[in-house]
Amino acid sequence: MHPPFFALTWPAETEDGCEPPAHLAGPLHAQGWTLATRRPGLALWQRPERPLVLEATRDLIVVGRWFGDRALLRDAACGDPEPVGRARSLCGGGWGAYLALIRGEGGWWGFRDPSGGVEALTWAARPYGVIASSLADLPPGFLPHRLALDWAVIAEQLRQPIAQMAQSALRGVCPIAPGDLQPIAGDAATATAIWRPRDFAPASAEVDPGWPERLAATVETVVDRLLAPYGRVVCEASGGLDSSVIKAAALRTGPAGRLAAALHYVGDRPEADERAWVRRLCEPHGLPVAFVPLATGPIDPDTDFAALARDARPPYAAVDPDRDRDTVRVLAEHGAQALVTGKGGDAAFFQMPSAAVLADLWQARGVAALRHPRHAEVAQWTRRSVWSLWREARRGPPSKPAFGMLGRLAGPSLEPASGQAPHRWLDGLDGLPPGKRLQIEALASSQLALGQHRRGAVADLVQPLLSQPVMELCLSIPSWELVRGGRDRGLAREAFASWLPAEIVHRRAKGNLTSHYARRTAASAAALRAHLLDGVLVDAGLLDRRATEAALRPDSLIWRADGIDLIGVAAVESWVRYWQTRAPDVPEAARPSLAP
């Protein structure tokens, strides 16, 4: 996670209106914030223990790292001085993990880069506007003046957790979605879409033989640029393809010793033990590996989630609190300033076994597609017959469950999903082939890892496979080419074959942690029962008490794979409990009454 920041804007009539209002600066300083920079109508504060990386001109402040032609940062270099033009210029002429604060005629705007590398929440605290990375650690009075709890959004986030990236259940606080430009203190309705994944979908069915080389070169460049600022980095190493690619890229590009260690979580069942793969990857390079056993004890929602529930979203990225704490410990032991992961590779490289890739092939090639070898290859991959794949490709995938993730746990007051896109990236996808839609949904879902967690408080989280250049390239490749040979991530395996041991490149299965999380939920059943059965979600009728009680019985958990979902619901419960005592309900979306 990026270092925290807090910026205040106010109407500045003149160019010398740079001085932040003293009555606001004082409490911020008392709370440990220091002024990082100021401009007419804007002041930006940082935490001294984690200073911000900034580039600034008169009308532009880039918080975080932007890689591109430096000339584009100059105010005069952009043909269109208005925020939309400047954001397009930054996004089209470079990339990175950044938030751009742009001054326009009507005030300051925020543009969040497509990777979502810097969190951005905005709200109005009249007469001021605020943009900040978090609601936590702010002095009293700095939160939105009309903060309220929106139960319709809470319900939507229970059905589809991805919805939290687009909308906070705290009315008055508006997250800026990755790729959006938004006026500071404005809501999502005032946002302008600068970058959308759909814009990079392939325009033709032509095959470019250079794709594997370009993918390898892009990943190498991205990893090199993103890790360059750090002296010591810890790399997550699961033993799978994505994290192995990142580790290999980091070793190829950086100075010796920058990669301080690999971090591997060890499952306690044979199917989750991937130590041999990780050793095979790391030992030849002399890279030390921190093997950390995955905790098997109970989760205590009261202590594990409460501290992280004070922000704009439930702490979904910390549903394994022990793993989160262990990562903090390993980062500290190795003096690392960043944790680099292979998160997003499943979406970018296309790991989803689906008939949708054949539907894409048909849409692009018509009848000629019937001769394509991918039909039999995908059938082998998905362990289905070509005929059943054709049936699904023609009819489309089965419709999504009405209550989404909550499924059988849905309470009497939970309405079925409205059919509205839960994330701003998923608007306007109707014209795209189904495989590309699936890829975009997976990329959007990957952003759940950007939420609140403990590891983000001690180091920057670097996710190169969710960077703008990697996403753009992978989106531009047809889905059936991404699964070359009927292998998930087939094109990526080809691209990185020379970087990795053959056993990793050709690995068919990946270590499975489903069992671990099912048993973890069972070990936590007593605490989860106490937390959920008499909790606010049951009280509001969003969660069914009897179904939740049944789902938490060990003889149910031993049968089902969705144990982790119950821990996710517990994280939402903790979040609602914290905020319900600090914010009233939105009148038109108040806590639903219990059904009779």
Binding site: A376, S385, S388, R508, A518, A522
Partner: protein, 126 residues
């Protein structure tokens, strides 16, 4: 795939139609059970060759994705070729799942060993 292989595979699919569908598991297993006999090196190689042929052909067979019928058809294909293999049934918990596959010695014929390590074999036909 030779013409003889094709006929034998068609016969195995025929067996599935007449000896698998709507039959209890005990009856299916009883039909597929054949006396075990040691296999020569050449026979083992032939088993591997036929399993590879099957892997390529099964995509075009109108079979559901259930492991039980897919393993049954491969086993019958091998048996109709005068060969055989162990039909292994395994289970796992957290979450519960049952699976079956064919094995020649310690080599899985119709699945990947990495996928199978989570299963505890409880029953072997062979």
């Amino acid at each position: 795939m030779t013409r003889r292989d094709s006929w034998r595979l068609a016969g195995a699919v025929w067996d599935a139609a007449w000896r698998y569908h709507r039959r209890p598991l005990a009856e299916i297993v009883a039909f597929a059970r054949q006396p075990a006999r040691p296999m020569t090196g050449a026979e083992s190689e032939e088993v591997v060759r036929l399993a590879q042929l099957y892997r390529a052909a099964v995509a075009w067979l109108p079979l559901p994705r259930k492991c039980l019928i897919r393993s049954f058809v491969l086993l019958r294909f091998l048996q109709r070729s005068g060969l055989g293999a162990d039909w292994v049934f395994g289970v796992r918990t957290w979450p519960f799942s049952a699976h079956c596959w064919l094995q020649l010695g310690d080599m899985a014929l119709d699945d990947h060993a990495e996928r199978l390590v989570g299963y505890e074999p409880i029953f072997v036909v062979g």
